[in-house]
């Protein structure tokens, strides 16, 4: 009881803190601009704003923490809100860097040019999602269509996809996870998950249940799947019925042949200089790449 009552205010105070940060910082940096090349970081001393993709918040925060340790005079404020929000903030000059889990589109490019902003793309990491099953499960490849039908509830038994006669236990991340949304967008093609899908609070819980349950199917970041080793089995994915089945791996994600993958970007205005440049260099340095792997993502190079 007491724990429960404590839970609300503590979380909300924390939430307010983050909210306050998100609201306050842009107003500091968003001052009228004459030239298109004005960069908030240099103007406002050494406070750098990075805004954008919710998926990337953890990764960017991890980078920022290590970067700030190495450069004690630099402060980095990382906020989420979504790729679209981040790009809009970049266009409005409210952020130094924008984190995006998709490429900037034509309309946004046009809007940016109209405001004298020149978004420059830096591919900093890749995100591959492995579909995993129990090692005892004889099914070793699925088409994107089949995975979609399993998660939307159209397929409910393993014998419908060439497996044994057993009900499928479908596992997903919680709806607060960026992976949940990515999977919904790319694999489910924006359809709703079946209400019968079990939502697990953490990736480790999905791996745990998949390892213990012969009829389970789940999805996890490639880094986590590789770490789990032979406790679970990664399913080969066919983009289409007649396409080759691709094993999820660092190589296939980098080559772009594995279908459930995407690139993660940081966007800057023009060619970055100063702290922004240092930060971008850091992200793709060996140290930055180590952080990428630790967070379950795939490096670019």
């Amino acid at each position: 009881m007491i724990q429960q009552k404590m839970f609300h205010p503590a979380l909300l105070i924390l939430a307010f803190g983050v909210w306050g940060l998100a609201c306050q910082k842009p107003s500091e940096t968003s001052k009228p601009k004459s030239g298109g090349d004005a960069k908030p970081a240099q103007a406002a001393g050494k406070v750098m704003m990075i805004k954008g993709s919710d998926t990337m918040v953890h990764l960017v925060t991890a980078w920022a923490e290590v970067f700030m340790k190495k450069h004690p005079d630099v402060q980095i404020a990382v906020t989420g809100g979504g790729s679209g929000t981040g790009i809009a903030a970049l266009i409005n000059g409210q952020t130094d860097l924008c984190a995006a889990s998709r490429e900037i589109n034509e309309k946004e490019k046009k809007d940016a040019e109209a405001k004298g902003i020149h978004p420059t793309e830096f591919s900093v990491a890749r995100d591959g999602i492995a579909v995993v099953v129990n090692p005892k499960n004889p099914v070793s490849e699925l088409t994107m269509e089949q995975v979609k039908k399993i998660y939307t509830g159209a397929l409910t038994n393993w014998n419908q996809v060439g497996g044994p006669d057993a009900a499928i236990t479908v596992l997903s991340r919680e709806s607060s996870s960026g992976t949940y949304v990515f999977f919904q967008e790319h694999v489910l093609e924006k359809a709703d998950y079946s209400p019968k899908v079990r939502l697990m609070p953490a990736t480790s819980a999905i791996i745990q249940e998949t390892a213990a349950n012969a009829s389970a199917i789940g999805y996890v970041g490639l880094g986590y799947a590789a770490e789990a080793g032979d406790k679970i089995k990664m399913v080969k994915i066919k983009a289409k019925e007649d396409a080759p089945a691709v094993t999820p791996s660092e190589e296939t994600v980098k080559a772009g042949t594995y279908p459930i993958a995407r690139a993660l970007y940081l966007y800057a205005n023009g060619q970055p200089t100063g702290v922004c440049k240092e930060f971008l260099d850091f992200c793709t340095s060996p140290e930055g790449e180590k952080i990428v792997r630790e967070n379950g993502y795939v490096t670019v190079k």
């Binding site: 009881m1 989420g80 709703d192 209400p195 745990q208 009829s215």
Partner: protein, 292 residues
């Protein structure tokens, strides 16, 4: 001694402030919850909450029906209470009426220890040990079910039920038992026909306080119930409780969105339910002059 009295007054005031802090905080929580939740009643409207589908993140149309969450919480709580009652009450009877002093000395600390285990540890135990057991025992496709959650929650409710029931049983006047024994009743007859019925209001209050503990529990249920928002009365199905929903979704929700406000409504309902259960239990305890 005016100086002494003044000093005493200050100390009294300080103590009063400390004592009333919790009341103030409860009021603030209520105000805050309603402040954040109210705009939802205006825009999508409260009808939106009275739905059977909880789909907060959707590219089609989000749905914030909290009926599956309420039935989920109700199912897990009722099951857990049903499982915990026999253990808690019989355990209390044994401890206060049957056990020798030495046994009590050994048993009591362990029961208190059980109450002190962090729920995330119990949850992890449930995920790794209990869920596979439930799965094989019942021949299910997955062990992540309402029953698994209820078993874990029963484990948490037992210490509460046991210790308060024990107090209630011990509060039964000795003269009742003496009279019963003097009339020739056996020890067992005295326990079940005299002592337990006399202590029943206290035992009921103990059970309700146990329920209050169970319904507010979050971490353990979130880890083992599978969190699928479906309406079911089948203990072998997965359910999503109100607490797990708040814990899982509040962290990443966009502030001020419909989803955010819907979560506050879930919080309000949860708070009202736990508040009501605790109030009734305290009333019962007070009426029969027992202190928890």
């Amino acid at each position: 001694m005016p100086r002494g009295r003044f000093k005493e007054g200050i100390i009294r005031l300080l103590l009063l402030m400390a004592a009333s802090t919790s009341i103030l905080i409860v009021i603030l929580i209520f105000v805050f919850l309603f402040k954040e939740a109210l705009p939802f009643a205006v825009h999508p409207g409260l009808r939106e909450l009275w739905g059977t589908r909880w789909i907060p993140v959707s590219f089609q149309r989000s749905a914030y029906g909290i009926i599956p969450l309420i039935t989920g919480s109700a199912l897990v709580t009722c099951l857990a209470t049903l499982i915990a009652i026999p253990f808690g009450v019989i355990g209390a009877v044994y401890l206060s009426e049957v056990a020798a002093a030495r046994e009590r000395e050994i048993l009591k600390p362990f029961i208190e220890l059980l109450a002190g285990i962090p729920s995330v540890v119990i949850g992890f135990f449930g995920l790794v040990v209990l869920a596979p057991l439930v799965k094989t025992a019942l021949g299910l496709s997955s062990g992540l079910t309402a029953l698994t959650g209820a078993l874990l929650l029963a484990l948490m409710a037992i210490p509460t039920i046991m210790s308060i029931s024990e107090d209630a049983i011990q509060a039964v006047p000795l003269s009742y038992k003496e009279a019963s024994l003097a009339l020739g009743a056996s020890k067992l007859q005295t326990i079940w026909r005299i002592t337990v019925p006399a202590a029943l209001p206290g035992i009921i209050a103990a059970i309700m306080l146990g329920m209050g503990r169970v319904i507010g529990e979050t971490m353990a249920v979130m880890m083992v119930t599978g969190n699928a928002a479906i309406i079911t009365l089948n203990p072998a199905e997965s359910v999503r409780t109100m607490t797990a929903t708040i814990a899982a979704e509040m962290g990443e929700v966009a502030f001020g969105s419909d989803h955010y406000r819907a979560l506050f409504w879930v919080g309000i309902i949860l708070l009202i339910v736990t508040f009501a259960i605790n109030m009734v239990a305290q009333r019962v305890l007070k009426k029969y002059q027992l202190t928890p």
